[in-house]
């Protein structure tokens, strides 16, 4: 977990480890106190894997001094299913099914990134209508994912009502997905060479109805939670991540944008038809929890804009590329594709040895890499701030462990 990316960070970690050593030998050296004062001790708390606000099966090994965290170690692997290894014995089309299970909250970008990499290997030209459909689905899925974040983050901070308000709208997105592909969670909609099915009848009207409705709900969310004084008090100036730190730890997605680094794969390395679309990259100011939160809220407005744009510009034509084999067999080679998933820079590295299944698949899972910063960002915070920071990083354990 501890990857040393820079000099100062390495020093910090070494210091931390030295402290660990001295702590284990002499527990009281950390806060030298006169002999007459009360005897204090550190407390070790296992936060998770069965804890309500770790969003799954994350285990955080915390060492507390009172309520202040002096050491935090994220422990992952409770949800490991080995999809990377499994892909080595499956055909390319079969691997798309497994991608749904990484980040089950936003599965469309997972589908997309695998298909992009496979299409690079197979040299396929995707029809334009399929590209637009992919963008629409990915952006709708970003809405669904950010809505889930909005709701659960409210619960983390103690506000329960926003959760169900968010889910009311999320249901509508899922209904739209259900109309398109019959599934609400594991879609398997984006396929190698295009998409699985064309839009059903009256889907576009229904989607526009949803978008028109949703714009006003965004305002409601701001009233309910974003600018609530208590909420801002809990999240502003808490869990600050400097731009340098964010780059050092390899953050991506709303987390790095919250720190003020305008890194968005859709802009920096446009894939699909994002190069033709007009949207702005939302950037936070101080890198606090509130900034990361509000970047996501503003991204929802951008996603609405993108979907509207795509619906208006949707061309007619094929939805699948010509000549996609039932069992594709690419030439030996390797390909890397990455997309801006709901949680960050989701990349996939495929190596083909010329057989029916990939020789090696590696996933650059944004949640996993974003999670690593916790061991530095949590130190010195209170337990309640820990919840705020962990929530604002927005991890999905399915993607962390794969």
């Amino acid at each position: 977990m501890t990857e040393i990316r820079s000099q100062d960070l390495g020093e910090r970690i070494r210091e931390n480890q030295q402290e660990k050593f001295s702590d284990s030998l002499k527990p009281a050296t950390r806060n030298p106190q006169p002999a007459t004062s009360l005897k204090t001790d550190q407390m070790f708390v296992n936060l998770g894997p069965q804890h309500p606000s770790t969003h799954g099966v994350l285990r955080l090994a915390l060492t507390l001094d009172g309520e202040v965290i002096i050491r935090a170690e994220p422990d992952v692997g409770y949800l490991h299913r080995g999809t990377e290894k499994l892909s080595e014995v499956r055909g390319y089309h079969h691997c798309v099914v497994m991608t749904d299970r990484w980040d089950y909250v936003s599965a469309m970008p997972n589908n997309l990134v695998f298909c992009l990499a496979s299409e690079k290997l197979l040299n396929l030209q995707v029809p334009e209508r399929a590209e637009y459909l992919r963008v629409i689905m990915c952006e709708l899925n970003r809405l669904a994912s950010h809505l889930l974040f909005f709701g659960t983050y409210g619960i983390d901070i103690g506000a329960f009502t926003p959760f169900l308000h968010a889910f009311r709208e999320r249901e509508m997105v899922l209904d739209l997905f259900e109309m398109v592909c019959g599934a609400r969670m594991t879609f398997n909609y984006i396929r190698i060479g295009g998409v699985a099915q064309d839009l059903p009848q009256s889907w576009i009207e229904k989607c526009k109805e949803f978008l028109g409705y949703f714009k006003f709900r965004l305002k409601e969310y701001d009233d309910l939670l974003s600018f609530n004084p208590i909420f801002m008090d809990r999240t502003k100036n808490v869990g600050l991540i400097t731009p340098r730190q964010a780059v050092d730890w390899g953050l991506s997605g709303p987390n790095i944008r919250g720190s003020g680094v305008p890194y968005d794969v859709r802009k920096t390395d446009p894939y699909s038809v994002y190069g033709k679309l007009d949207f702005e990259v939302c950037v936070g100011e101080s890198g606090s929890c509130w900034d990361r939160y509000y970047v996501r809220m503003r991204e929802m407005a951008q996603s609405v804009r993108l979907v509207e744009h795509c619906l208006n510009a949707l061309p007619s034509g094929d939805i699948v590329a010509k000549g996609v084999a039932k069992m594709p067999k690419p030439m030996p080679g390797e390909a890397y594709a990455h997309v801006e998933g709901s949680r960050g820079d989701l990349g996939i590295y495929l190596v083909s040895d010329g057989s029916f299944s990939p020789y090696r698949m590696h996933v650059r899972a944004p949640s996993y890499i974003n999670l690593a910063i916790l061991q530095e960002a949590l130190v010195g915070l209170k337990v309640s701030d820990m919840i705020a920071v962990l929530g604002s990083i927005d991890i999905v354990l399915g993607e962390v462990d794969r």
């Binding site: 407390m43 708390v45 804890h51 309500p52 606000s53 309520e67 409210g154 619960i155 983390d156 901070i157 103690g158 506000a159 329960f160 009502t161 959760f163 169900l164 308000h165 009311r168 509508m172 209904d175 259900e178 109309m179 019959g182 099915q197 064309d198 839009l199 059903p200 009848q201 009256s202 009207e205 229904k206 109805e209 949803f210 409705y213 309910l224 939670l225 609530n228 208590i230 909420f231 008090d233 809990r234 209170k382 337990v383 309640s384 701030d385 820990m386 919840i387």
Partner: protein, 443 residues
């Protein structure tokens, strides 16, 4: 759903309803036909979107019916209050006459049965108000929170909107195994729920539920209520300590700090009220608020310029903190401490903690209406045809609703900000308020 998708694609899409008489039917038919798959099979046939339902809510029959039921409840309660009248006084009339008779020249019976009966009647009323109200406040909270969150809440048990749900839950909790950690402190673990629960019963003794409707008319009622409710802190700390659980311990420590701190501004915010009323007796505090300025504005303490409003707000905030509810539910912050001090409690012991919380909500609401809203006084002179207990319960219920409202709207404070807010904001203002009340005492 599988059936629907594989259904034959024969039926053509239904035509849009052109001129349907009932708008509700129109909404339904639009909804039903919109969700179509590309094979023309119906999918999601009875799924309604908020956009469908909110087009015109008054078109919906259930919405109109709900409004009518709400109106009927208000009218019915008012009529009930008008018909039943001041039963407190009626009972006391018999009581006094019996005492006169017993003390008369030919006493057939001694006077102690009447005294005992009288105390029993008052005790039963108070106990029922706490316990039965606890049951219904839980149901009420679940329904209100559900409707705030576009849910339905309990709907089945008891027939009408799940009104017996809490009773069913209570029976379940009674029958549940009392699971507890093996390395707990056995005695303290069992003592803690009792220590939390008993004070809330005692606290209600001097609260006047209407004219003459106090179980014990204490001269130091205000002091007594604050003293009794302070005991509960001990139980919470003990629960945190005895559970042998780190989360419980943190919750217990947090609540000790929080409850002790917030008792200060809470007590100080009442000082101006006590000074204006000239008595620590709750009944006299209510009596001091009778009457109207210009025959319209009631002489409630909340309407005293500046001092009344400051006191009211400080007392309201401190009361929410005292009852451990959002936004001050730090001791049981579920996202951090699982369930805080009652993590390791189950069955009826847990239910006692739960019931206590609602008891304190009701107590805080009752005190708010006693101290600031004139207790049983009617808001307008002509409305005093309704009995005092009706107004008292109505005001109390309103404040109880406010507590629920806060809970389902606000996020939670952070524990250190909570302390800052208390010591740096509430307490100084409650002191300043003592200065503001001085001119009133010289007028």
């Amino acid at each position: 759903m599988a059936e629907a998708t594989t259904a034959a694609p024969s039926p053509a899409p239904a035509p849009k309803p052109a001129n349907v008489t009932s708008p509700e039917k129109a909404v339904l038919s639009v909804t039903r036909q919109v969700f179509m798959t590309h094979t023309q099979g119906t999918l999601l046939a009875n799924r309604q979107w908020p956009t469908d339902m909110w087009r015109n809510v008054w078109d919906s029959f259930s919405y109109r019916r709900g409004a009518m039921v709400l109106g009927a409840i208000i009218v019915g309660l008012t009529a009930f209050g008008f018909l039943v009248g001041e039963f407190g006084e009626t009972i006391q009339f018999f009581h006094r006459n019996y005492l006169l008779w017993a003390a008369s020249e030919f006493p057939v019976m001694p006077s102690w049965p009447a005294e005992a009966l009288w105390i029993l009647v008052k005790g039963v009323i108070v106990l029922h108000i706490i316990l039965i109200n606890g049951l219904f406040l839980v149901w009420w909270e679940r329904k209100i929170s559900a409707h705030m969150q576009s849910r339905l809440g309990p709907i089945f048990v008891g027939g009408w909107h799940g009104w017996l749900q809490t009773l069913a839950d209570g029976i379940k909790l009674l029958l549940k195994e009392d699971a507890a950690p093996s390395d707990r402190d056995h005695f303290l673990h069992a003592l803690a729920p009792a220590l939390v629960f008993v004070p809330i019963l005692l606290c209600f003794a001097p609260v006047p539920f209407g004219r003459e409707l106090a179980a014990a008319n204490l001269d130091i009622g205000v002091l007594y209520v604050f003293a009794c409710s302070g005991i509960s802190v001990l139980g919470i700390v003990l629960a945190g300590w005895a559970s042998a659980n780190k989360y419980s311990l943190l919750g217990g420590l947090r609540s000790a700090a929080q409850l002790v701190s917030y008792e200060l501004p809470r007590a100080f915010s009442i000082a101006p009220v006590v000074a204006l009323a000239g008595s620590l007796s709750l009944t006299k505090v209510v009596a001091a608020q009778e009457g109207y300025w210009f025959g319209v504005i009631p002489k409630w303490f909340i309407f005293y310029p500046v001092v009344g409003q400051i006191s009211f707000i400080i007392f309201l905030i401190a009361s929410v903190a005292e009852t451990n509810r959002v936004p001050f539910d730090i001791p049981e912050a579920e996202s951090e401490l699982v369930a805080g001090f009652h993590t390791e409690y189950s069955g009826m012991k847990f239910a006692l903690f739960f019931l206590t919380e609602y008891g304190y909500v009701f107590l805080a609401s009752a005190l708010l209406s006693t101290f600031f809203m004139g207790g049983g006084a009617a808001p307008l002179p002509f409305l005093s045809v309704l009995p005092s207990w009706f107004w008292f319960v109505g005001k109390t219920m309103f404040f109880a609703f406010c507590f629920l409202w806060f809970r389902w709207t606000f996020p939670r404070f952070r524990v250190d900000r909570l302390m800052d807010f208390n010591w740096k904001f509430l307490l100084p203002w409650s002191f300043a308020n003592l200065l503001f009340v001085a001119p009133y005492l010289y007028l």
